[in-house]
């Protein structure tokens, strides 16, 4: 019990630091890819501290609530990860966190924010099935839905779930809102979208959204690392490599339309995941 509390506290404090640093590296690497010098690694932290200091303005008085729900449920998902809980339920909690953000964006009568929210819903429509397939594939291999079962399973999951790993990397692009799937919001202002789902958040709210993104990133990296949990450091290296890959993809792709995204994700992401699951059945 005491152990669990200590682990939880370390996770809650440590995750944003790791996440923030990863985002700092992201900006640096992206800049180098574009032949720019880029900001210092700690820039995301400077940004967030600055945002916390801004005067608090809002479009309506309920926005903050959704931001908090978005953050808290991301933390809840993180705790489920570090406390080795049910993988499938973790996916649902993570989805709840996302829905809270969608509600926040839709709660204001703003065209840009609403468009971003609708597109975010389409993104969820695209990737949710793949996440469920992933949890299911893990069950099929380890005989347990608990993350605990993955860590005690003698062999790395990657050997049994190579295609599900690929599918997960695929939807990671959507989850991180990187090109070609960056149409609910993006790191750059776009004419038709402005900042999409985050358009109407500012100051503290925006800072908390950034913070939640850091938590999300750590959770996603953690989920990738689970594919190679024996030894875990290999998994972490794989996760970092995957993140690097996302940055490259982000910089070499143009945005696609959402119908194409849903179709492509269901066919490529869902399809490969299913092939993997069928293979597991045939092998068994």
């Amino acid at each position: 019990m005491i152990d669990n509390i200590i682990i939880s506290i370390i996770a809650i404090v440590g995750a944003p630091i790791i996440g923030g640093l990863l985002f700092g590296m992201d900006r640096r690497i992206t800049a180098r890819l574009q032949n720019r010098f880029g900001p210092p690694i700690l820039q995301p932290f400077y940004d967030v501290f600055k945002l916390f200091g801004k005067e608090s303005i809002a479009v309506n008085q309920t926005q903050m609530l959704y931001v908090l729900a978005h953050l808290f449920f991301a933390i809840a998902a993180l705790l489920m990860l570090v406390l080795k809980q049910d993988l499938l339920m973790l996916m649902f909690i993570l989805a709840f966190s996302q829905i809270a953000l969608i509600m926040g964006a839709m709660s204001v009568r703003s065209p840009y924010s609403k468009i971003g929210a609708q597109r975010e819903i389409m993104q969820m429509l695209a990737y949710e099935p793949v996440l469920i397939f992933m949890a299911f594939g893990v069950y099929k291999v380890t005989g347990s839905f608990m993350i605990d079962g993955i860590l005690t399973y003698p062999a790395p999951l990657l050997y049994s779930l190579p295609l599900i790993f690929f599918a997960f990397i695929y939807i990671l692009t959507i989850k991180l809102r990187k090109s070609p799937f960056d149409f609910s919001t993006s790191h750059h202002g776009h004419q038709e979208l402005i900042k999409g789902i985050t358009t109407e958040f500012s100051g503290t709210q925006l800072a908390l959204l950034e913070l939640t993104d850091w938590y999300d990133l750590v959770i996603l990296m953690g989920l990738i690392a689970l594919f190679f949990a024996q030894p875990l450091w290999v998994g972490i290296l794989i996760a970092l490599a995957a993140y690097l890959l996302e940055l490259v993809i982000d910089n070499i792709c143009a945005r696609v339309t959402w119908p194409l995204m849903v179709k492509a994700t269901w066919v490529i992401g869902g399809g490969t995941a299913l092939v993997n699951i069928i293979w597991l059945y045939v092998r068994a």
Partner: protein, 656 residues
């Protein structure tokens, strides 16, 4: 003991019938209100007593045939014939040959079977186990509350229609009588009696749907009637086949897990026909259209049909007989049909902008999931099925009442018109949003059952695919709608809603019920559902346990899955407090208009207009995506019906 059970049973079934008669015979509003309230209290009492008695028993309460009044069997037989005759009369009156044919197809077998074959009735006439109890609780708690809601609602409804003569006596008669029939249906152990109550519910829903009497409601009522009559034909056919094969009509004996070798001959076909009957009643594809059409009726009817009565009879039957086909090909196709309906209805719901149609599709989807779980038939799946019957009943009942109230308030049931309803009807809208959240998100019950269903489908990958895709679709259509209702601009001057006390009370009551069942999921599961699953005696290695404020999947002592429901409720609780804090803290000085590229008109903080082409102000239009190009009803329904029809044919055919 048995005498007391019999008295309670009579109270739970006959009292609604008597109250119904009083409502009809004394067309006085005050008397009717007293009767409705008294009926509610007595049914609550019955539900409570059944819980008490069953928890103190060894798992079943039995009323044997010998302790019933003599000739009851004959009375039911005669009523059965009269009932079919009455349905046939409507077929003639409305000049619908299809209904006449379907009635004859039931009437002739019923007469031959009941009067000339010398049927041997089962010795245990009524058997109440935990599955029955779950349904009794739903029928006797949610049902009467909807009747209470109707007291206030129907006044307003008839006021809108400008009727010369009130039709409320007949309305309340059917609504309350419906509850009695449902209670009897879930308690009886005699398949042919169940068939009688089954037909009573068909007739009640027909009469309720056509209550307003205009052309569209009569047409939709006729559709409901003929679709349910096909189910009735299948039901009577199944009864005859089963009796010829097994020589018994005892539901308990039929649904007992068959010993190897007994699942032969036409028995699987008969079970398939019973499932088919369940599908028609539960509005599974391709029979979904009757339930969609049913919403032309006044809102309490929809609430009743969708939550505690009618459609729940169908899933009850399928869950009831599911141990008989556990692990067979029949079970596989039942699961496949249910899962397909779950996906199909969820997908089409994305394209709907009519609130009641969204609710109806969501009901169809959830019933599909229940049937799918019954088909999967392992420990986790049946736990999910029984839990979902409860959670869906409570939440959906609440949501229909909310939509009905909002419809009366803003004069529209279109989701797009609900933008800003938070400001006009804060009480109802808040309850509705939380009701919708309870259909979608953790830690509320419906999601937990979805999670259990997915974890249960590990033996059937195709079912898993259908559920996973359907689950993504449910996220899409619910979150779009919630987003619209939550949309608000500063400064909402909250209205104080003027709604009838009975409406306010019933909304508040069901709202509280949602929390009671969701927060109390662990004890509820341990006391009411687990005993039933233990009695089913599965050979499964994975069991579901409700403990530590959550639901856990245990395999030989170790958790292989699980969820601490209460800890997430703690976060929810904190957020509710935060909500209250931020709502009160918001100062107008901190508020800005939404971003419109700097083209906002004037200093309007709501951002309703922007400076459009030619420097003229133009309205800002924000709408949801409905994706009719991809998920449109016209586009998909025919294909879905054909696929579902094929699956049903396979389901029945696989037994031959």
């Amino acid at each position: 003991m048995e005498g007391y059970v019999l008295a309670l049973l009579a109270l739970a079934t006959l009292l609604p019938a008597i109250c119904a008669a009083i409502c009809y015979l004394i067309p006085n509003r005050a008397v009717r209100n007293v009767v409705v309230v008294a009926n509610t209290l007595v049914l609550f009492f019955c539900a409570w007593e059944f819980v008490r008695l069953l928890l103190g028993s060894n798992g079943t309460l039995v009323v044997s045939e010998s302790s019933l009044p003599s000739h009851l069997g004959e009375v039911i037989k005669i009523l059965d014939v009269l009932l079919l005759g009455y349905i046939g009369y409507w077929g003639i009156k409305l000049k619908k040959p299809l209904i006449i044919v379907l009635t004859l197809l039931q009437l002739i077998p019923v007469i031959i079977f009941e009067f000339f074959m010398g049927v041997h009735e089962p010795t245990a006439a009524f058997v109440i186990d935990y599955l029955s109890l779950v349904l009794i609780l739903l029928i006797s708690i949610v049902g009467p509350i909807i009747a209470v809601f109707a007291m206030g609602y129907m006044e307003e409804h008839e006021h809108h229609l400008h009727l010369e003569k009130t039709k409320q006596p007949a309305f309340f008669m059917i609504v309350i009588g419906f509850l009695g029939a449902m209670n009897a249906l879930v308690m009886t152990n005699n398949l042919s009696w169940m068939y009688f109550f089954w037909e009573v519910t068909t007739l009640c829903s027909f009469l309720l749907i056509k209550h307003d009497g205009n052309e569209i409601s009569v047409n939709n009522a006729v559709r409901a009637l003929w679709m349910n009559c096909t189910g009735g034909v299948a039901f009577i056919a199944a009864i005859i086949i089963i009796y010829m094969l097994k020589g018994t009509l005892s539901v308990a004996e039929i649904s007992a897990a068959p010993i190897a070798g007994e699942f032969t001959g036409l028995f699987p076909v008969a079970l398939g026909l019973l499932c088919f009957a369940g599908f028609t009643k539960s509005a599974q594809y391709p029979f979904q259209s009757w339930l969609l059409g049913a919403m032309v009726a006044p809102t309490p009817v929809s609430a009743l049909l969708h939550s505690s009565t009618m459609v729940k009879a169908g899933v009850y039957l399928v869950v009831r007989i599911s141990p008989a086909f556990l692990g067979t090909d029949l079970g596989y196709f039942v699961a496949l049909s249910g899962a397909f309906t779950f996906l199909a209805a969820s997908a089409v719901a994305i394209s709907q902008s009519n609130a009641k149609r969204v609710l109806a599709y969501s009901t169809i989807a959830n019933l599909g999931l229940i049937i799918c779980c019954a088909g999967i038939g392992n420990y986790i799946a049946l736990a999910a099925a029984m839990l979902l019957i409860i959670f869906h009943g409570v939440s959906k009942g609440l949501l229909f009442l909310c939509v009905g109230t909002i419809e009366q308030g803003i004069g529209s049931r279109n989701i797009e018109d609900m933008q800003g309803v938070m400001k006009i009807m804060p009480f109802t809208a808040t309850i509705m949003v939380i009701g919708m959240i309870s259909m979608l998100m953790p830690p509320f019950g419906v999601l937990i059952t979805k999670w259990l269903a997915i974890e249960a489908s590990m033996s059937m990958p195709v079912v898993l695919i259908l559920i996973a895709l359907g689950s993504a679709c449910t996220v899409a259509f619910w979150s779009k709608w919630i987003g619209i209702v939550l949309t608000m601009s500063y400064k909402p001057k909250y209205n104080v809603e003027k709604i009838a006390t009975s409406i306010k009370f019933s909304l508040g009551f069901l709202f509280a019920m949602v929390f009671v069942v969701c927060v109390g999921i662990a004890p509820m599961y341990s006391f009411l559902i687990d005993p039933q699953l233990q009695a089913f005696n599965f050979a499964d290695k994975i069991q579901v346990v409700g403990s530590n404020g959550g639901i856990w999947l245990m395999s030989s002592g170790a958790a292989v899955g699980g969820f601490a429901v209460l800890s997430v409720f703690a976060i929810m609780f904190f957020l509710f407090i935060a909500a209250a804090y931020f709502m009160s803290k918001g100062k107008s000085a901190d508020l800005r208009a939404p971003y419109l590229c700097g083209e906002n008109v004037g200093s309007d903080i709501r951002g309703l207009e922007y400076t459009g082409p030619g420097e003229k102000p133009a309205g800002v239009v924000v709408r949801n995506y409905y994706l009719t190009g991809a998920f449109g009803e016209e586009r998909l329904t025919l294909a879905f019906n054909l696929i579902a029809g094929a699956l049903i044919l396979l389901m029945i055919g696989v037994g031959i």
